[in-house]
């Protein structure tokens, strides 16, 4: 066991360094962990050997995979079912096109211009079809747009977009056998039953120190993950769906969500993102940056071609249309999950993985900067902005002044 504990200490040490960097430079912990993973592999690999990090050790693969599953579940649970129900028609159109256009476009460009094999090209299409609900949410929140009709529609559209990505990831690379059919049928039953069963089960047995809720959720996530894997699909697909169907119940239990986040950020996702970063080859990126630029450009262009005309169809004014298009061109979490799926399942090689992850990271940062710098719909802000939206304003004291001297 000495070797396992030593390796665990090394990984947690890297996670700690990544967290410190994220605090110092105010960057997302996931991004910091990917970068630390890349640099650690580069340095440790060159000095001692690439096997030192043990990225293929079963227990590291397990923790990393669990990180992806629980993170995806939590991302799905952030859905606001009320907004989703109110705006599903408009949002489905924008979100659907926001997924389909880059998915098909990037697949075509990877196949035609980068001469990737067809399955690798499909994987590129999936990884670059994502959007980032978090980026959109944060920008909306900053300018108080999340309470506007416009903001709610765009947020709901992002969930639809990512749902398309996760379904594509879960089904395209599946062999489509009787196992796939069983997986789909069981999934439908579970997704219908869970919103009914879960609140009742938690009401009877939950809210105890034994953390029954966490065990219950992990049972379904692992169980459906196992079924997905058995059917040749990807465990994050049922995890995201379970998150979405439980958003109205579990998603509103803030104490439970906080405990799950502690487990996720404290132990699981560092293994996931550091591992994801450790597979990125910097020398490959430096040697041929054109592939990265083509993939990034492909995502931006196809998102624009897809989303912009639809925003005009649903009669968004010019600024909102451009803003929505740029925000929906972002994406980090599901992009990196898709890329790592491709690498670990032999769909893409390490060079293709490196280009994809670099393009995914660029797509998380650059469109947001452009959107905020040039296309912010300020007239919506002036009429709706109220101190950063979801965060409540608190008047701490309303005592009449006495006009005394200083």
């Amino acid at each position: 066991m000495t070797e396992v504990w030593t390796m665990a200490a090394l990984w947690v040490g890297l996670a700690l360094i990544a967290t410190l960097f994220s605090i110092w430079f105010r960057i997302a912990t996931a991004l910091s962990e990917i970068i630390v993973g890349t640099v650690a592999q580069l340095i440790i690999g060159a000095m001692i050997g690439s096997a030192v990090l043990g990225t293929k050790e079963p227990w590291i693969v397990f923790l990393s995979g669990t990180g992806a599953i629980v993170l995806t579940f939590l991302a799905g649970a952030e859905l606001d079912p009320v907004v989703f129900k109110a705006k599903w028609k408009e949002s489905s159109l924008i979100g659907g096109i926001g997924f389909v256009a880059p998915f098909l476009g990037c697949t075509f460009i990877a196949y035609k211009f980068l001469h990737w094999p067809i399955m690798a090209s499909w994987l590129a299409g999936v990884a670059l079809s994502t959007t980032s609900v978090a980026v959109v949410y944060a920008v909306m929140l900053e300018f108080g747009l999340n309470k506007t009709t416009f903001g709610k529609s765009v947020l709901a559209a992002c969930f639809i977009n990512d749902l398309g990505t996760v379904i594509a990831l879960g089904l395209i690379f599946s062999p489509f056998t009787i196992k796939t059919l069983i997986f789909v049928l069981v999934s439908v039953v579970v997704f219908i039953a869970l919103p009914w069963l879960t609140p009742r089960f938690f009401k009877h047995y939950g809210d105890r120190p034994s953390e029954l809720e966490t065990k219950y959720l992990l049972l379904f996530l692992f169980g459906m993950g196992a079924l997905a894997s058995w059917a040749g699909s990807e465990p994050v697909l049922p995890a995201y769906m379970i998150g979405m169907v439980l958003a109205g119940t579990v998603g509103k239990d803030h104490a439970l969500i906080r405990r799950l986040r502690t487990l996720t950020f404290g132990l699981l996702t560092p293994f996931y993102f550091i591992r994801a970063g450790s597979f990125v080859s910097v020398p490959v990126l430096m040697a041929a940056p054109a592939a990265f630029l083509i993939l990034f450009g492909a995502k931006m262009v196809t998102k624009t071609i897809g989303v912009y005309p639809v925003t005009k169809v649903v009669k968004y004014p010019e600024k909102e249309a451009r803003y929505t298009t740029l925000l929906m061109s972002t994406g980090l979490t599901f992009g990196s999950i898709s890329a790592l799926f491709g690498l670990t399942h032999g769909v893409i090689d390490q060079a293709q993985y490196s280009y994809l992850v670099a393009a995914v990271i660029a797509s998380a940062v650059i469109p947001t900067l452009i959107a905020n710098a040039y296309y912010l719909p300020r007239h919506l802000m002036s009429s709706h902005h109220d101190t950063g939206a979801d965060v409540p304003e608190v008047t701490v004291k309303s005592t009449k002044l006495k006009g005394e001297t200083l």
Partner: protein, 143 residues
């Protein structure tokens, strides 16, 4: 006449000094005091972490607001405390504009070297772009 004062507050030494200064100013001029704490999200915002940062920071600032409330109550000053999300300088300027603030009282930031180049100084930007008077309070100010 100073009717409305805004204090950006992030619980540092200089923010504390700025709040105390603004509180005394509000008392002297019979002004309303607006306190604004800004949650700065990590870039790029990512799924789950964004919500976690907002929740924990909001809870943190609400605790601090209770301390400020006690101080204000002792002097009989009206305080409106708010938490916003985004880039601090932008939120401060927007709040000042929205509430027709007469004076912004802000703590002095001592960021040097790489930190100043990379992250900049919120105080500098507020001083540069605010349309009202800005008072910068040094951490050492105790009067």
């Amino acid at each position: 006449m100073i009717q409305k004062i805004l204090v950006p507050y992030n619980h540092g030494g200089s923010a504390e000094a700025a709040f105390n200064f603004a509180l005394n100013l509000a008392k002297k001029f019979n002004s309303q005091l607006f306190v604004l704490s800004v949650i700065q999200l990590p870039e790029p915002p990512t799924e789950v972490e964004t919500e976690a940062v907002i929740e924990s920071s909001t809870a943190h600032y609400h605790k601090l607001f209770h301390e400020l409330h006690k101080k204000a109550e002792a002097l009989g000053v009206m305080v409106h405390a708010t938490v916003a999300t985004g880039h601090p300088e932008e939120q401060i300027l927007m709040k000042a504009e929205k509430e027709n603030i007469d004076v912004i009282v802000i703590g002095h930031q001592t960021r040097v070297g790489f930190g100043k180049w990379f992250l900049g100084s919120v105080t500098d930007r507020v001083v540069d772009h605010a349309q009202c008077t800005v008072i910068v309070v040094k951490k050492e100010h105790t009067k």
